[in-house]
Symmetry: C2
Subunit: 196 residues, 2 copies
């Protein structure tokens, strides 16, 4: 099992949870077993060449621009386009050539797709793209390969974001883990899993 | 009223319909009153500098990659990312500085956001991004400025696409026009309008 974004709040929790039962390869931009820059297709290709065949890929890697609407131009918007959007989509477009039959891709999106908050238009757009891509990829992938997205609200272990999400009940790390368990070990495909 | 994509099947119909009642500025990449390349922020900025203040912008401009999944790499995927996705988002991010109070943006998406078809993963992703962006922009835009997307299925006047959309009941040009009428002349904002 490959976990991309393994150094982040979500990735760390998932890696700790899953490595008790499975072989986990931790992937992150600055540390981990393998370093990858998900904004580079060459770097992603290198990751899969090193790992070889695998059964499951989890991505919790979602860089996006957070900031005032009035300062949001094409330049800022590219952070989420290259990161959370194309970064995750390229993990699938390239990874499909290495994944084992009946393997699975589990990407990260978030409630911002349908419940926007101020300052987060870039994340909303990236999430919306990834969710629609997941539904489209599910009808294209062959050999029983599945793909889902897990879509939490703000997460328990990131209290610095609570003020930006008034009224959102934080998703616990346990709930988040259950969401990814459903995606990786369940039978569904093309689903947007809300772990709450 | 600015219509971007005025030379396309949808744009032509909307321009003919609305110019009976309103001043219409036709914008397209190769012809029209003003030529614009929506993949260039400089070209978009030029458009608005020429037009000055305006009340409504309609976009039917949605270049995306259509083709077999197995040939879809980052390179092909960029067609929709730069075109239907960032092209339309940049029309709003830049156009908001020129639009009149109580003005409106009406973008184009499509049923592929939620109902994928083979060969169209790029359009699904672009649509999903634009729809989530519309919801996010609606809570950010000030001075009564509204934003919606119109989301048809395959359209009546594009029979060449019918074989790709088995079972989809084509949206008539009249229905499409009603969808844009609701967006431009109604009071809603942040809505994905299904004209069927």
């Amino acid at each position: 099992m490959i976990i991309v974004g393994a150094s982040g709040t979500m990735g760390k929790h998932l890696s700790n949870a899953f490595r008790k039962e499975h072989e986990v390869i931790e992937v992150a931009s600055e540390c981990g077993d393998i370093r990858v820059d998900i904004t580079s297709t060459e770097s992603i290709e290198n990751l899969f060449k090193q790992v070889g065949a695998f059964d499951a890929l989890i991505s919790t890697a979602g860089p996006t621009y957070v900031g005032p609407w009035k300062k949001m131009t094409d330049k800022e918007f590219r952070k989420g386009i290259e990161g959370k959007l194309m970064g995750q989509i390229n993990l699938v477009l390239i990874g499909q050539h290495y994944i084992n039959p009946k393997g699975s891709f589990s990407l990260i999106t978030g409630a911002l797709t349908h419940e926007p908050q101020k300052n987060f238009a870039n994340a909303s757009a990236a999430n919306g793209a990834v969710e629609a891509f997941v539904r489209a990829a599910a009808i294209e992938l062959e050999n029983g390969i599945r793909i889902n997205a897990v879509s939490p609200t703000v997460i328990e272990n990131s209290p610095q974001y609570f003020p930006f999400f008034p009224g959102d009940i934080p998703v616990t790390m346990q709930q988040l883990e259950y969401g990814f368990r459903k995606s990786v070990f369940g039978a569904n495909t093309g689903q947007i899993i809300k772990p709450y």
